[in-house]
Every structure is written in structure tokens, then in C-alpha cells.
Amino acid sequence: MTEISAREAIREAIAEEMRADSRVFLLGEEVGQFQGVYRVTQGLLNEFGSKRVIDSPITEHGFTGLCIGAALAGLRPIVEFMTFNFAMQAMDQIINSAAKVKYMTGGLLKCPIVFRGANGVGSRLAAQHSQCYAGWYSQIPGLKVVAPFLASDTKALLKCAIKDEGPVIFLENELLYNYKFPKEAKEQKVEIGKAQVLVEGKDVTIVSFSLYTDHALKAAEELKKDGIQAEVIDLRTIRPLDFATIINSVKKTNRLVTVEGGWKFAGVGVSIAAVVMQEAFDYLDAPILNVTGKDVPLPYAANLEKLALPQVKEIFDACKQLCYTSSQR
């Protein structure tokens, strides 16, 4: 079986949608001549030319607004943020313009636009370049938020995002760009808003997304050695969140651990916990635990960076705790 990385998956998705629809264009810093700072957009300028693969000035607020205007006028922009940390400069346009315009116009206008780029932790980039925005954007009605793990999902979901009639936040992860995944012979049928059970189990449910689904899978492997069968759910989409898949799993396992790289307070995990508590209270045998990034800006020092982020061991321990077995090994 051949392999594909998330980087290649993203590039293929963009190229295929650009071939299919001349209204689709890509704009961002270094996406063209430089071939992308993470080489995600390599070769796209050559194939599509500078009219459709546009190197922008470093001007996030302005080019985000510009692309929203272009979307309102009938184009389908893909906006690349070098990382989502820089998209904070454009937050007003994303939330106040892109997310709200359909509602404010009573449906007269739509804003088909994809905001994509690296989100969350990189490698030793410290506080200003290492933050997960899944929780931030997921709070906003009018936005869809996608954060895939598998390369096959990444490709399929990015294609869905480009074809979507509204604004989609597409959260990638720098560390995942290099991950190799088996390439599916046939493209998966995937849609925005559906989670996927990656590993079936009966003792405890672990839900996660993006890079931390990898950690969840590793923790499940370790738990198996201790006789605990963890069910691992990859959320894939954070908004709209597929609560049905989580609740169905909890009905079976009666225990839930959420994992995310972002902060706990007002985060994705605690929001899931609230809904599961309200809708599946009778099925829970233990409190829901949230394994998250620690409540600090991300430090630079290697040992501190590791401590600040969710570790496989923490997921393992949380599951053991919920199963009322000692985590000592």
C-alpha cells in the first residue's frame, strides 16, 4: 500500500478543487513562488499561475477582509494563514463579517471561504506561535471548524470545505504535515460534522482531534496491554460536533476522557463534558476527565514544553482512573 502525508493530502485537495472550479483561488503569505513555508502548496503556482495562486503581503487583517469581499462577490477563496496564530489579526473579519453575513442578510448573501493553516503546537516555537484555536472558533455560530487527523480525512474534508457554501475554519497541524498514512485505494466518503470511531472498545471512550488523536491511539495501545479496551473517537469536525457518535460510545463504555492540545477552561473537552452530562447522565459510571494543555502560555524549554502539553501517559492515567484500576505499572 502506498503512503500519503497530510501535506500531500492538502495539496491534492486544493489542486483537484482548483481544477474543478475556476472560482477557487488560493491566497496567502509565501504560497506561490516560495512554494509554501511548509511546502504544502508546492507546485500549485506552476500549475495554476499567479492569477489563482496569490502571494499576499503580510497583512492578515486586510487580506482576510479582501477575500471575504471576493467570496461575497461570487468567488471561492482559500485563505492560507501561515499559522493560525497570525489569524488573530484577522479575527474581526472572520467572526464579524464571514461568520455573520448570512444571518445578518436573512440569507441574501453567502460567504463560501476556507481559512486554513497550521494550528496548535509546532516544535519548540514557544508561546506566540503555539496555540490551539479550536475552542475559539467553535464558539461562533456561522462557522464550521474542521481539524482532521488521518491524511485521507484531511483530503476529503478539505474538498468538502472548499465546496461548502459557508465559511470553514480548517485547522491543520505542523507536526502532522510529515506523518505518513496508508493511502486508501478508494477515496473515503466523508462529510463535515461526522466523527469516526478509529478503535472499538468497551471499557472507556477517548475522544480527540488532530495531532492528539495520535496520542489517544498510543494510549489505547498501552491500555490494551493492561486489559482495558479503549474506544478511540477522532472528532474530525469540532463544529458542528458529532455528539451522537460520542454519546453512543458512552452508552457502551460508560466512561469518557477528552484530549486536546488547547487550554481546558472554556475549551472543547469541557463543552463535550457538559453535553454528555446533560444528555447521557444515566450512562456515566465516572466523572468525565479532560486531558488538555496546561493553563500556561507555551514555554520554549524542551522539558517545560513537554510538560505543558498532553502526554500519552496522562491519557493512559486518566483512563485507568476512570476504570478504577491503579495506573502504577
Binding site: P57, F63, I68, A70, K102, Y103
Partner: protein, 321 residues
């Protein structure tokens, strides 16, 4: 430029300016009665700016402005009824009652809002111009913003991209002298706003925004320049708003005499009326006829809005995604 006679054009200018004024006077009255709520920014005093610009714009050109948007909607030909209904938050409003005064749109007239965040429409409007160029539709985007927005960073980010990519955009600064309660000189280091494009290579002119024919001349100059594919152009229209920043602003930062003086000497409607009568372009009888037709339109818009239902509770959840 539209190929219509002076007479028709002058009648149309008078009609549009007076419609905006009478419509908004009615809106102010409704606001006072509690029938319109929230922020409601009136265009009264500034009518000549958009009306003059629109004498030149082509049907397919695109337009965007701030929250002070009723005048632009009316001048572009949107029906008065749904605008008044929107102000009252009714289901028949142009945004189904979900947008209100600050968020009005009419894509059928190429009007893209109606934006509540100061300066946001400048980069959005630059994107409208980007789409014109991308699709090769040969149109121009007209982007209106105030002297307050002229100090927002994204305006200059937009200038840079507009010139870099030679986008067909006319920036119209409606300098009404006050950003809410702060006069231009108290907020702006260099008050010649039309020069703000110089470091980007974007030409600009200053024009009397209280004179609809001066606005027309400026619009011809701008649209010709942009139409030749030379990139963006800036017009600074010196104008004045008679009312507060919004209906909730008593405007205590300026004297009554200052406002009175402008109303007496520079009023765009009275001065234009005097001009067309003196020149004999439009007869008094015709002006009277226009006035009474506007009276009827505003009255009908008011009763349409008043008689319309509020949105159905189920509409709370529609048009979100």
C-alpha cells in the same frame, strides 16, 4: 456615464436626495416613538455624496459602506418599504429583521452592506474589486467610509493591495467632520485625508461633498482613471451630518450655531434646488410633483413597516450556516 439628459439627471438627483432626507426624518420620528431601536445612524446632510457618485456608476458596479447605510440603499433604488421594515425589525425587512439599521444589503442592486465594524467595509470592498478583476467583468467597486474609519489600519492594508494588484476601486471618504464626537483635527495627525494614498501611489482629490454636481465631477474623474486600468482612486468628500452620530448621540461636542450655519449655507438639497430653478433645468411644478411623490412613498413605506409582522420565532435558527 449614463446617457440621460441634464433634466432627467437633475430630477433624479433631487428625487434621490429628498427621498433620503424625508425617509430618514420619518425614521427619526419612529425612533423617538420607540418603534425603531438600537443604533440608527442617519445620513441627513450627506445626501449629495452617494447621489452624486451614483450619477456615474454603471449598473453592474458594486457598492459597500458602513453602518450609515440607509441613504446608499435608497439611492441605489432599493424599495423604501423593506428598509423601513428592517429598521423596525419586521419579517418583511430587507434582512428579514435580523440585521437592523446597520446591516442592510441588496445584492440585486449590487449593494454589499451595511457593515457595523468601523473600517471593515474597506477591505471587503477591496475584495469586491478583486472579484471584478478576477472575473474580468470590467466593473468598479465603490467603497464608502468616514473620516473616523480613515484611521483604521486595514484601510492602509487595503490601499497597499489595491495598488499592488491594480484593483478597480474608488475609495470615497465621507468626511463629515466628526468621528462620533471627535473632530477630525483631534483624531488625525494629517487632516488632508485625500492625500492618504500618496505613499501607495494612489491619487486623491478633495471635493465639496455638499454639492451633488461637484460629486458628479469627482466621480467622473475617479471612474475614468480606474476604468483605464490604472488602479485605485481616492475621493475625499467634505460633508456634514446634521444629526448626532447615531440617534442616541445628542451631539453636545459642537454648537447649535455651527450646525445651523451649515444647514443655512451648505444644504445640499436647498442649494441644488435653487440651482436647477435658476438654470431652468427643472420647473418648480416638477419639483413639487417629486416632493409629493416622495411624501407618498415614505408614507407607504411607514405603513408597510408598521403593518408587517415580526419575524416568526422559528426564524431565530434559519440562515445561520
Amino acid at each position: 456615464m449614463n446617457k440621460i439628459s441634464y433634466k432627467e439627471k437633475h430630477e433624479s438627483c433631487y428625487y434621490k436626495m429628498l427621498l433620503i432626507r424625508r425617509f430618514e426624518e420619518k425614521a427619526a420620528q419612529f425612533y423617538g416613538m420607540g418603534k425603531i431601536s438600537g443604533f440608527c445612524h442617519l445620513y441627513i446632510g450627506q445626501e449629495a455624496v452617494v447621489v452624486g457618485m451614483l450619477t456615474v456608476a454603471k449598473q453592474s458596479d458594486k457598492h459597500v459602506t458602513s453602518y450609515r447605510d440607509h441613504g446608499h440603499m435608497l439611492a441605489l433604488g432599493s424599495d423604501a418599504g423593506p428598509i423601513m421594515a428592517e429598521l423596525m425589525g419586521k419579517a418583511t425587512g430587507c434582512s428579514k429583521g435580523k440585521g437592523g439599521s446597520m446591516h442592510m444589503f441588496d445584492p440585486s442592486n449590487n449593494f454589499y452592506g451595511g457593515h457595523g465594524i468601523v473600517g471593515a467595509q474597506v477591505s471587503i470592498g477591496t475584495g469586491l474589486a478583486f472579484a471584478e478583476k478576477y472575473l474580468d467583468t470590467k466593473g468598479i467597486a465603490y467603497v464608502y467610509y468616514g473620516d473616523g474609519a480613515a484611521n483604521q489600519g486595514q484601510v492602509y492594508e487595503s490601499f497597499n493591495m489595491a495598488k499592488l494588484w491594480n484593483l478597480p476601486v474608488v475609495y470615497v471618504i465621507e468626511n463629515n467632520e466628526y468621528a462620533l464626537g471627535t473632530s477630525v483635527s483631534r483624531a488625525t495627525a494629517m487632516t488632508d485625508l485625500y492625500k492618504r494614498g500618496e505613499s501607495f501611489g494612489i491619487p486623491g482629490i478633495r471635493v465639496d461633498g455638499m454639492d451633488v454636481l461637484e460629486m458628479e465631477k469627482a466621480a467622473i474623474k475617479a471612474s475614468t482613471y480606474v476604468g483605464e486600468g490604472r488602479g485605485p482612486f481616492i475621493i475625499e468628500a467634505k460633508t456634514y451630518r446634521y444629526k448626532g452620530h447615531s440617534m442616541s448621540d445628542p451631539a453636545t461636542y459642537r454648537t447649535r450655531a455651527e450646525v445651523q450655519d451649515v444647514m443655512e449655507k451648505r444644504d445640499p438639497i436647498n442649494n441644488f434646488k435653487k440651482f436647477v430653478l435658476e438654470k431652468g433645468h427643472v420647473a418648480q411644478a416638477k419639483l413639487d410633483e417629486i416632493e409629493s411623490s416622495i411624501k407618498k412613498i415614505v408614507a407607504e413605506a411607514a405603513s408597510f413597516a408598521e403593518e408587517s409582522p415580526f419575524p416568526d420565532p422559528t426564524d431565530l435558527y434559519t440562515d445561520v450556516e
